[in-house]
């Protein structure tokens, strides 16, 4: 297992290098001049040129790239042109928010999607299957911003049982930074009330984000369980007298999970990109808002660092997915 992890981590390096090159080139070829935007509307062309020189943007592209590589290699991801804060500091504040939301959504999607899919498969073509099918089609078809507004209207405005937006209410202090995930950090700080407070804030955004993923997972699980049920070993397990319940939820489900788990890795990308909309609607202070404002003002260091960070998260999640898959399926562990 350790060898597997190391090998996957080693494979990540060229991928991230490639991503770095791509992001660098993209931020440099877009026809937006960071210097001009930074200088502001009052600046003269000479002033803009001076800023450009200060930033090193007048140097040849390959020189700039080497300088950037050296900078990144020394752990420096640059400084925002606007906040003057190290990008690493911004990321440290915002990345956990996005990760918390994505993890909560993933958990929700898995915990709901897999049983739904499995039940649909077992009750194939029954009324329960039909209901689940309507749900899954709906879950994929509904636009998440619409879903978000509906949830806000019902649960926050009408029923007033869930908060409208944010990670906590205005005036509630953030927990001491340990994991960056508020629910967990409040718990670790021993404050159950605030942990629940943060969890309550997590509900609507994660439900919104999880909905399409839940539908996808349910669909994959359903078809996978149906496929597994045709397998010889299921016949054998029935014939040797496994109770149906045990057979389905332990033996059949585990075989079906392999395909679903692969999906979860891919879906995490969906969570990260989908979080841009969801974060905006729910005022969730994650990477989406940050990246958006950085892109619109050509603040290239945060853009590169954020993209890289998202790439790393995605790669790490997929390594974890591989590990989970290796745990589920012993044959996978041996092949790799």
């Amino acid at each position: 297992m350790l060898a597997l992890i190391l090998r996957r981590l080693a494979l990540m390096i060229p991928v991230l290098l490639g991503l770095l090159v791509l992001v660098f080139v993209l931020t440099r070829i877009v026809p937006a001049d960071p210097a001009a935007v930074l200088a502001g509307e009052q600046a003269s062309p000479e002033q803009v040129a001076a800023i450009r020189a200060t930033l090193g943007l007048d140097r040849p592209l390959h020189v700039q790239f080497v300088r950037y590589l050296v900078q990144v290699a020394s752990g420096d991801f640059g400084t925002s042109l606007y906040t003057h804060r190290p990008v690493v500091q911004d990321l440290a504040e915002r990345m956990p928010a996005t990760i918390e939301l994505a993890l909560a959504s993933m958990l929700l999607a898995i915990l709901v999607g897999i049983p739904l899919g499995a039940v649909a498969a077992v009750r194939r073509n029954g009324w329960l299957d039909q209901i689940i099918r309507v749900f899954t089609i709906g879950g994929l078809a509904v636009a998440s911003f619409w879903m978000a507004i509906m949830l806000q209207l019902v649960f926050s405005m009408q029923l007033d049982i869930l908060p409208l937006r944010g990670r906590v209410d205005a005036g509630v202090p953030a927990p001491p930074f340990l994991t960056g995930l508020y629910v967990i950090d409040y718990l670790l700080a021993g404050n159950l009330a605030l942990a629940r407070h943060a969890l309550w804030h997590l509900v609507l955004p994660s439900v919104t984000l999880a909905l399409p993923a839940t539908a996808t997972i349910a669909r994959f699980t359903r078809s996978s369980v149906i496929e597994t049920l045709q397998k010889d070993f299921v016949a054998w397990e029935r014939a040797v007298g496994y109770p149906r319940r045990v057979m389905l939820w332990k033996y059949v489900l585990r075989n079906s999970l392999s395909a679903t788990v692969t999906q979860v890795g891919l879906l995490f990308g969906l969570f990260l990109s989908g979080s841009i909309v969801v974060e905006a609607v729910f005022g969730w202070p994650g990477l989406g808002d940050y990246l958006f404002s950085a892109i619109t003002t050509a603040d290239y260091q945060p853009v590169m660092a954020t993209t890289l960070a998202i790439g790393v998260i995605y790669a790490v999640v997929n390594i974890m997915v591989d590990l989970v898959q290796a745990r589920i399926d012993p044959r996978v562990a041996e092949q790799r």
Binding site: Q42, A43, Y290
Partner: protein
């Protein structure tokens, strides 16, 4: 985590924890919060800038922190707003208009308790001039760092390189910073830019709660006891929690629910009715000097033909745009200056939507050899629907007179890049003429002087010696009547030449909860004076 964060956290969390015993439903925490310290706080939902540094950013949201965290030598006061002394108690200007002596108010304390002196003023101006972005570019054309000197503990001399009439109007842009504190936090010669981006070094009525600032996301401020100007209301707002809401729909829900006490000032016209009807809410109209105009590339065929430009000016459906798109929330501005500002000729007629006139001018342009059959391009700004709506209206009107126009889109950064060179600059694009300093120069001087060429301000590529001369003369004289005469003449000349298509002067709209009393819009951007506010109940 730093120690003081931990203390702050423990104290508040402890208090909250005590109010919400374990076992209560999660939302009880919010109720407890609302009844506790939170209820007395103003929850400001206006936008936040990405930095608290008052020198490096100059936009609508940054005015909010600049005005309330800092004091300046001058402030804007009155209606229409004029620059009035604030930290300056006395100003003496030399006859040639180049040398200005300021006496600084004694006894003003920074938030760390130290006294504000001439040294701080000198430091602040030199810092502003040294930094490449934000406020500096407006000053650098007429002022050098060496020109700012302390002549006493409470007196400062500023020597301009040449007489510059908008100088006083520019003074409210420059926040005075605590030199000692700034120098203590300077790293690598950065003028403490990294530190002050998330902290304050001011003497204003409010101060930043340390560690509370998260760019674009949140900022907590507290009232400063014994602020030198005093507090006009007996129960002023002690705590201000800035919690901007980015999403349009959520923003309205949040203010309707009471999660925030006010929105930003861009409530869309189609949402006005809803805000007016919502219980506990009111819609505040904030008059704006901001103008909206189409920039026309005067250096390129066929827009280099006066008749073609007049055809464009006659083709735009001003009334339709203001009534339909803006639902009547703006006034027509026929010339380059805001209609309420001095320097705008009261009798200026400008252009009306008149397709017959447009056709006549188009024919004249064709006869003069202008390439009127070329497809021209309108570059609309991504994220600003209004620019696209203006483009569509113009496109359909132009089609009626036989001019083909394509609509392209660009993000702001992209458009700025395009306007830096005459060859890449758009045929037509549109933007708002925002208020940096309240002086006619902010609009005509900045947009139509030759010095502006190569920036988005000069994107009309207009080169006219006579106008340039008038604008320069208006900058150089301190005689207000003479300046007014020059700006009126320049405005008429620009309109006669149909340099751009000037459309409207806007109104800003903000949803504010009824419990917020004493609300008065700021003169520039979100720069309202929070001292005047109190909360009912």
């Amino acid at each position: 985590m730093r120690r003081r964060d931990l203390l702050r956290y423990s104290a508040t969390a402890g208090a909250l924890g005590a109010l919400a015993p374990i076992g209560m439903p999660g939302f009880a925490v919010r109720d407890a919060q609302a009844q506790g310290a939170g209820a007395a706080a103003l929850r400001w939902g206006g936008n936040l800038s990405r930095t608290l540094d008052p020198h490096t950013v100059y936009d609508v949201p940054s005015a909010f922190t600049r005005v309330n965290l800092y004091d300046c030598l001058y402030e804007y006061a009155g209606n229409p707003p004029e620059p009035k002394p604030l930290l300056a108690t006395e100003t003496r200007s030399s006859a040639d208009g180049k040398t200005h002596d300021f006496t600084i108010r004694a006894g003003v304390k920074f938030h760390d308790g130290s006294e504000l002196t001439a040294e701080d003023v000198v430091y602040s101006f030199r810092r502003m001039l040294a930094l490449p972005q934000g406020v500096g570019p407006a000053f650098r054309p007429f002022m050098k760092a060496e020109g700012v000197t302390a002549t006493g503990r409470h007196s400062v001399r500023m020597e301009l390189q040449f007489p510059y009439a908008p100088f006083f109007a520019c003074l409210p842009m420059v926040a005075i910073m605590n030199k000692r504190l700034m120098e203590a936090n300077t790293v690598n010669n950065d003028w403490a830019a990294a530190w002050v981006a998330g902290n304050d070094a001011g003497s204003g009525p409010y101060k930043v709660v340390p560690g509370s600032f998260r760019p674009l996301d949140s900022l907590d401020m507290e009232a400063v006891d014994g602020y030198w100007r005093g507090w006009p209301h007996s129960r002023p707002i002690r705590q201000v929690l800035c919690r901007p809401v980015r999403d349009d729909a959520t923003r309205l829900l949040a203010v309707e629910k009471g999660d925030i006490d006010s929105t930003h000032s861009y409530i869309r016209p189609d949402q006005h009715e809803r805000v007016r009807r919502a219980p506990g809410l009111r819609l505040v109209e904030e008059p704006q000097l901001r103008t909206y105009l189409l920039r026309v590339h005067n250096g390129r065929d066929p827009m280099n033909n006066l008749d073609f430009r007049k055809a464009l000016s006659y083709a735009f459906p001003y009334e339709l745009f203001i009534q339909r798109v803006l639902r009547g929330t703006a006034v027509r501005s026929p010339g380059p200056l805001p209609v309420s500002l001095w320097g705008h000729p009261r009798d200026l007629q400008g252009y009306k939507h008149d397709l017959d006139a447009a056709r006549r001018h188009l024919d004249a342009a064709r006869r003069a050899g202008a390439n009127v059959t070329r497809e021209i391009t309108f570059t609309a700004l991504v994220g600003f629907d209004e620019t696209e709506q203006a483009a569509q209206l113009l496109q359909s009107e132009l089609r009626k007179i036989g001019v083909t126009m394509r609509i392209a889109k660009a993000v702001w950064a992209n458009a700025v890049q395009m306007t830096q060179r005459e060859e890449t600059s758009p045929d037509i694009w549109s933007h708002w003429g925002s208020t940096y300093y309240i002086d006619p120069d902010n609009w005509v001087g900045q947009f139509y002087s030759k010095a502006a060429l190569g920036t988005q301000r000069g994107s009309s590529w207009y080169r006219d010696d006579e106008t340039d001369g008038m604008l320069a003369a208006a900058r150089a004289t301190l005689d207000r009547a003479e300046r007014q005469r020059l700006y009126e003449a320049a405005s008429r000349r620009l309109v006669d030449q149909a340099v751009d298509v000037w459309i409207y002067n806007g109104m800003a709209y903000r949803a504010v909860r009824e419990r917020v009393k004493g609300y008065r819009p700021g003169a520039v951007g979100d720069g309202l004076d929070l001292r005047e506010l109190w909360l009912e109940g």
